[in-house]
Structure formats: structure tokens, C-alpha cells
Symmetry: C2
């Protein structure tokens, strides 16, 4: 039995998220189908975690085990020739039989793109959230600092999350101004609850626009109650940037 690790980029607007679903194209299913074409084996592709419909990935990590003589290089070329243009496999690496993309992940980095302008972007409308209200990036960054460290993130959890605990450790969380109108929120944590990044961004935007204070943001976090938080930011602004392993 051999174990292969894949580094995967995908355009979230083409799929109904990562995880296999009935009658919906998903990233996991597309890649599993392509691996079946190459190996004639019904494998299960384990991702580092799910991403929701519309969410993009620059470097999702997944692994699969199978009996094969095919090399990683052959998988890399074969999968890229079989997969639709909304999915690119950037690397295929032979790994130890016990490597697991989800259980072995140490941390993940997400970016969330916001275009803060009077009118939405025509060109980048599928790659950002358009926020019209003027945002105070310094205020958002002061609030974001409260996220750093180990906290119960229940306030930012979407319903239906599969988890044992709602405590996560956030390593970095800050907004960076990229181009004139573009704010990128960069967050790294040892794990994420369902909708966690999008709920955090939706809540930070309220602080940035003056709807809530920095103090209120801190209270929302410590309340451990989703009802106090802001809206869930839309999926198309979110990018899974990388997954770290030891």
C-alpha cells in the first residue's frame, strides 16, 4: 500500500465545496474520479479539512492510499490532464503510510479578500467580498489581536460543525492593505471551526465600520454565543493558502 500527498489549487466558484455530495460537483469527487481512472481503485481522498461552496484554495493538502506502480510524477501529470480547469494539482509526493492530511496538520493559513470601495469590482467579483462602508483597518487590527492565543471560538462557529471542542489556537490574525482598495485578512490557527474565518471577518467588519467598538468585539468573542457575532462573510473572498505539517 502506497500513500500519496497532493497539493491542490481550486477555484471555489466551480464546485459545491470540497466534500463529496450527491448530485453536486465537488473537488474531492473530481479528484477521486480521476484517481479511479488512473488506478481502477475506489480510493478515499482525505483532505486537510473541508472548504465550503465558493471558497478557493491555493494549496489544499490531501492524501490517498492505493496499490500501484505509478510514480508521483505520473500521478501529477495524469491528474492534471484528467481534471477540469478549475482544479490544478501542483505537486504529488510519496509519503509514509501513516501520513494523514487532516490528523497530521499542525496549522492552516487562510486569507480573506475584501474590496472596500464605493462600487464592486467587475473583474474580481468572484475573488473578494465587496464592502461599501468605509473601514478603519487600524481598529480592525486592534480587535483582531484579541483572537490570538487559545480561545473558545463558539461565538464564531457555524451550526453543524463536526468537532469535539470549540477551543482553537490562533497564531496570527491581521489585516494587510494590499492594493488601493484591497484588504487581505491573514489568519493562521491550529484548526478552524465551520464558518469560523467568515464569521470572524463579518464581525470584524462591524468594528471597522464603527457599528461595534473594539471592546464589544472582545465581548462577542468571550460570550461564546453565535447570536452576538456579525454576519457570515460570503465564501468567494476566502482562500485556503497553506497547510503546515511537522
Amino acid at each position: 500500500m502506497k500513500n500519496f500527498k497532493l497539493i491542490i489549487e481550486y477555484d471555489g466558484s466551480c464546485f459545491h465545496g470540497w466534500q463529496r455530495q450527491k448530485n453536486m460537483p465537488t473537488v474531492q469527487e473530481e479528484i477521486e474520479k480521476a484517481i479511479f481512472t488512473m488506478t481502477l481503485q475506489k480510493i478515499i481522498l482525505s483532505g486537510s479539512g473541508r472548504t465550503d461552496a465558493g471558497v478557493h484554495a491555493m494549496a489544499q493538502v490531501a492524501n490517498f492510499c492505493c496499490y500501484t506502480d505509478l510514480t508521483p510524477e505520473i500521478f501529477l501529470r495524469g491528474l492534471n490532464s484528467l481534471l477540469p480547469s478549475g482544479i490544478t494539482i501542483h505537486d504529488c509526493i510519496s509519503v509514509d503510510e501513516d501520513f494523514h492530511a487532516r490528523y497530521d496538520a499542525v496549522s492552516k493559513i487562510y486569507h480573506y479578500h475584501i474590496i472596500n470601495s464605493r462600487w464592486p469590482s467587475a473583474v474580481f467579483r468572484n475573488h473578494c467580498w465587496f464592502v461599501k462602508k468605509e473601514l478603519d483597518i487600524d481598529k480592525m487590527n486592534i480587535a483582531a489581536k484579541y483572537l490570538i492565543g487559545s480561545h473558545d471560538f463558539k461565538s464564531f462557529e457555524g451550526s453543524g460543525s463536526p468537532r469535539k471542542t470549540t477551543v482553537r489556537r490562533v497564531i496570527t490574525a491581521r489585516f494587510v492593505k494590499d492594493k488601493t482598495d484591497l484588504y487581505v485578512f491573514k489568519i493562521e490557527a491550529d484548526g478552524f471551526l465551520r464558518y469560523m474565518v467568515r464569521n470572524i471577518v463579518g464581525t470584524l467588519i462591524d468594528t471597522g465600520s464603527g457599528k461595534t467598538s473594539i471592546n464589544q468585539f472582545q465581548k462577542i468573542l468571550s460570550a461564546k454565543n453565535r447570536n452576538n457575532a456579525g454576519i457570515t462573510a460570503p465564501p468567494q473572498g476566502l482562500f485556503l493558502m497553506s497547510v503546515k505539517y511537522i
Copy 2:
């Protein structure tokens, strides 16, 4: 008679270029239809120049004249509510009756995005040209310097260009490395021939990949013969960034 100037962003992948065509959605036609809805007048929208199918614009400039009591602010809001999501009007300004978006343009800036990696980008596939061959950006920049100044750009002209002369004055032309794999070619000129930027990029790539020398690039430019130049780079990498007026 009033004259209005529009600043327009559009996603080239949604339209068959700028210019009105039979039975094809174009940017010019969409905006003219929206202005008709607001004014009941069949106006002609004059763009600063055409862009081809697939080419994007961050700030195309156009103007139209009509009899109206509507203010620029009303046009701005009305057009954005009527237009499809692939077009955004960023500004509408009242201008002198003799202002003409094309004749008065002093220079234009285009950017061309290249992703230079082993595999194409899934997320940005509609916003860049994927070039697999390793590129020497320094060599391309030395070659690009020969473009600066007034030259006959016949070697880089696509057929069917409407023009009196093939001489244009290039003000800046250079590649900038933006992110890891992204090269942006930035070119400003007093005017552009049809396919000029895309033909220049296609020819510079040959120099960057070692297929041609810097000396050969210079000879291609001075030959005034399209047959010597490289391929026409695909449209989705090209962005009209701005149009300058006195």
C-alpha cells in the same frame, strides 16, 4: 447637449470585446442599452479605444452626449443598477461638450499578467497567461527597453487595424515580478495598434525563454514585418489600466 465621461471596469471573459457587434454581447452595447433605458435616447458611447474579446479593463474611459436633466450622480447609480455584474461604472463626470474619450487621450497604460510555473493557475486562469518555460525577466527587461521611444511598430500590428500610421511612442515598458509566479508587463504609450501589447508580450517571451536573443528582438522591432515576431499572447492576461488626458 451635455457630455458625460465614464470610468468603466469590465471582466473581458463576459463579453465579445468593447465594440458593438451583431448578436454578440459587448461592453459598448450593454452600456448604450442602459443609457437608453435611462434617457430614451439612442446615444453613441465613444470609448478611448477598442479592447478585444477576453481583454479586461480596470479603468476604460468613454463619453456620450445627450439631452438630459439627469446628473452624473444619477447616471452613476442608475447605470450600475442596470448593468450586468461584469461591468462596473466607477465614475461619471460632467465634461466640456468637445471632450472626446478617444481623440483627447494622451496615453494609455496596459498591464499583461503572466503566471510562470509548471502548472496553470486554477483560480486565476481567466486573468493571466500561463507560461511553462522558465523566463529570464532581466533579459526580457533589457529587450523591452528597445520599445521605448517613437518607433514604427508594424512588426507587432495585428491585421485589420484601423490606423493612419503604425508609428507609436512608448513611454514605459517593463516587467515587474509581483508574487512568486506572477510577472506583470507594464506598458504606457501614446496609442496602441491592434494586438500590439499581446504581440509584444508573445515576442518578449521568446527572448525570456531563450528562443531568441535580445539582439534578435531588436531586429524584429526594426524589421517592420509581423512575420518575424512571436505569437499573439492570449487576451485574458491583458488589462487596460488607465487612460490619461491633459
